[in-house]
């Protein structure tokens, strides 16, 4: 585990994830107190990545459970392998009749079968799903429960036993207690409010969009091939876009995609045509594209004016800038 908050930051940085002190503190606490983390925030700020990087940083396996509407215990925890059970009964028919030979009457036969039924309801026929896998793993793991807000409220209630005691109960076999307490990360996009009971058991981490410096640092790390100047321009644009009232604000991943795309096209400066052509890498709705174009037109005009000034009279212009 981690020995200090600084170590969290370092090890995350080694995995190319820039963790602010706030994030690092929460991660450190979660590891020290053995508590799940509930990560909330807008889409595309690295909520899921946090879990992945955590697993890499600790050298643990990552077990991921993607939530969706209608997700039930069968998909999340365990399931009996009915098909396998049926198959085995078919194959073992002879053995079963052997067991039954000499039984007097139906009652005796049922008793004899009953004696054997542990065979069929044993761990052999349990099909472990992510949650049970995380509990029964020999090595410590990081369990990522992604987009928990998409799952039903009942599922959330069902998670409570797991999150507070790190154990799950299978009625036919008994209770599985975690051999290694897994580190649990839950992410939510706030499609609906989580129940208080769930929130109470978790450390809460709200990740917001990064500020300019942080975002630049992230780009430098994730897309080192991008020119500094271009990265700066892109970040300025994206930051200003986030201030607009968009249906979906561009996340960090979109910024990185855009920088990569622009670098691939060998672009030095943002200009009008180029922006229009590549805008759909960062803005995903038709209405948003229109709003963003308005904003960008303004930005590109200003940027060009600035560049024009510099190119025309390099020395005096920069002096003037200083004076202003």
């Amino acid at each position: 585990m981690f020995s200090s908050i600084e170590e969290v930051i370092e090890r995350f940085a080694a995995q190319k994830y820039i963790a602010s002190r706030r994030i690092a503190t929460v991660v450190y606490l979660a590891a020290a107190l053995r508590k799940p983390i509930l990560v909330e925030g807008p889409a595309g700020v690295g909520k899921t990545d946090l879990a992945k990087v955590l697993a890499l940083a600790l050298g643990h396996d990552l077990i991921r459970l993607q939530c969706y509407e209608g997700l039930d215990e069968g998909k999340a925890l365990y399931e009996w392998e009915y098909a396998k059970q049926l198959l085995y009964t078919q194959i073992l028919k002879d053995k079963i009749s052997e067991v039954l030979t000499g039984a007097q009457g139906l009652a005796a036969a049922v008793d004899r079968i009953a004696k054997e039924d542990e065979v069929f309801f044993s761990e052999r026929f349990v099909l472990p799903r992510p949650l049970l896998k995380a509990i029964t793993a020999d090595k410590p793991v990081v369990l990522l429960i992604d987009e928990i807000d998409k799952a039903d409220a009942e599922f959330e209630a069902f998670l409570l036993e797991l999150l507070s005691d790190f154990q799950v109960t299978v009625p036919e076999i008994g209770t599985f207690k975690a051999r290694q307490v897994p580190l649990v990360v839950l992410t939510s996009n706030n499609a609906r409010e989580m129940s208080d009971a769930l929130k109470r058991r978790c450390l809460h981490l709200y990740i917001d969009f990064p500020d300019r410096e942080q975002e630049l640092a992230i780009i430098k790390l994730k897309a080192p091939e991008a020119a500094d100047r271009l990265a700066g321009e892109v970040v300025t644009v994206v930051q200003s876009l986030r201030k607009l009232d968009l249906k979906k604000s561009p996340g960090i991943s979109e910024t990185i995609d855009w920088v990569k795309a622009l670098t691939l096209l060998n672009v030095q400066h943002l200009d009008q045509d180029l922006v229009n052509e590549t805008l759909d890498t960062i803005v995903k709705y038709e209405g948003d594209v229109r709003k963003a174009q308005e904003e960008l037109k303004e930005y590109v005009r200003r940027a060009r004016a600035r560049r024009g000034g510099e190119a025309g009279q390099p020395g005096p212009a920069s002096d003037k800038d200083l004076l202003n």
Binding site: R21, N190, R200, L203
Partner: protein
């Protein structure tokens, strides 16, 4: 520390953040892990354990600043103030403090603890002492500005400021007898004076800070109460602005609540086809049963809003509310009237809610400066727009039913009732006044399925909740 955290949790609760006992315990455990030395980590630890809603983060940040930086920061600033007054650099000041300590060792054997802490700049102990004294005089009970002086005096007495003054005076005299250089003597005297002043300053600022802390709480509480219980009619411009936010928040809350409620809706009938298909892998033995999903019918809504002067605010929030929740209905059509009636549905489709509201209320569609005439408006509605109403439509009328003694034409409402699923009438006037003067409420009420008073945000919320819940 435990006490402080519990008190902080209380403060959070009083400001509307829900902090359970278990979470306070978590906060304790977490602060034990991070330690108290690094402020940012401590803050992050509390934040992660005590605040579980993004919307409550600003409250937390504000309170944390006030609560935790408070006294320590004040003492630190006072210390810096002394250093500045002596115009020394950090190093010089440190050296000077060493000298002071040396002197105290020689001279101050009978000095009180307080004097030692103050003069040797032991801010941690001083802070603790101040807090104890504050508890003794019940400083947390302070509420008004005029109490500041009283509490400052009480705190000074509890600390033993009189004795301290005495001690410092004696110390000054002793310094004169020592064989230090004159410059150093002067500096020492100045230091003593400054220190005493600084403590007085600290006390004053501490008391004020405590008062502000309570104030913050009171203000916040008041604001929420007032807003949701205040009649729409009396809102000031600034309150109107805040109310708009409040409506948006309430709408979001309602949406969340409904999302959960929807999920709990009962399952439908047994679905044979899907059951068979899903159980093919088990040789057709029905291990897993499948049910039809019962689809909840979304209500269709037609809103008739009176936008005459007397009820315009209520209409504004009604419209805003309904349109913020648009995806809960299959169809919303809205009409505004004073004496003419006009449809504003289109404006809401193309525009932002805010712009649409302005268009609807500012008289672009109908003349909003006429005298209310419900009868005429209803007759026109039946004549021109009755097609908007069908068996699945809920008709909501929002108005005070003050008809200026015109013909009420209540038969129009009956006509609408016969075609609609139900009619809900919301009246922004207090129930006691219905039926008096030119109010035709009594005449209209029999044709409505539900007549509700709707004067403030709480009532509005209940009505809309009722509307979508079924």
């Amino acid at each position: 520390m435990d006490d402080k955290l519990v008190e902080f949790a209380n403060l959070l609760r009083q400001n509307g953040v829900r902090v359970s006992l278990a979470e306070t315990l978590d906060a304790l455990a977490a602060s034990g892990v991070t330690g108290l030395l690094d402020r940012e980590s401590f803050r992050a630890a509390l934040r992660a354990t005590m605040v579980k809603r993004a919307s409550e983060l600003p409250v937390f940040e504000e309170l944390f600043e006030v609560y935790f930086s408070g006294l320590g920061e004040i003492i630190k600033q006072a210390g810096q103030g002394v250093q500045e007054a002596l115009s020394m650099s950090d190093q010089e000041f440190q050296k000077f403090l060493d000298q002071v300590e040396e002197m105290l060792k020689q001279q101050g054997e009978k000095l009180s603890e307080l004097a030692r802490e103050l003069l040797q700049n032991r801010s941690g102990q001083l802070e603790k002492r101040l807090r104890e004294a504050a508890r003794a005089v019940r400083l947390q009970g302070i509420e008004r500005t005029i109490e500041e002086n009283y509490f400052a005096r009480a705190l000074a007495r509890a600390l033993g400021l009189d004795k301290l003054e005495q001690e410092i005076r004696e110390l000054r005299e002793q310094i004169q007898t020592l064989d230090y250089g004159n410059a150093l003597k002067a500096q020492l005297e100045k230091y003593l004076d400054r220190r005493l002043k600084a403590l007085e300053d600290i006390i004053r600022r501490y008391v004020r800070m405590e008062r502000e802390k309570r104030d913050l709480r009171a203000r916040e509480e008041q604001r929420l109460h007032q807003l949701s219980d205040k009649s729409f009619y009396y809102l000031s411009d600034e309150e109107l602005e805040r109310m708009k936010e409040a409506v948006t928040r309430l709408a979001q809350r309602l949406k969340n609540a409904l999302a959960v409620r929807r999920k709990h809706a009962k399952k439908g009938r047994f679905d044979i086809k899907r059951t068979l298909r899903h159980n093919l892998e088990y040789g057709g033995v029905p291990f897993k049963l499948r049910f039809e999903k019962r689809r909840r019918e979304k209500p269709q809504v037609v809103i008739l809003c009176d936008v005459s002067d007397s009820v315009r605010n209520a209409s504004r929030f009604m419209l805003q509310f309904v349109y913020s929740l648009q995806d809960l209905y299959s169809r919303v059509r809205s009409f505004v009237f004073v004496s003419d009636i006009g449809e504003v549905t289109e404006h809401f489709r193309g525009n932002d809610i805010k712009e649409a509201l302005d268009i609807a209320l500012k008289g672009d569609v109908i003349n909003v400066y006429a005298h209310s005439d419900f009868g005429r408006a209803f007759r026109n509605f039946v004549g021109d727009h009755i097609g908007a109403v069908n068996k699945r439509t809920t008709v909501i009328v929002l108005g005070d039913a003050r008809n200026n003694y015109n013909l009420p034409h209540d038969w129009c409402l009956r006509e609408i009732r016969q075609r609609a699923r139900r009619i809900i009438w919301l009246n922004p006037e207090s129930r006691n006044t219905w039926g008096f003067g030119d109010s035709e409420m009594e005449r209209y009420a029999p044709h409505c399925d539900l007549v509700e008073e709707c004067r403030n945000l709480n009532q509005l919320y209940r009505v809309v909740d009722h509307l979508v819940a079924r």
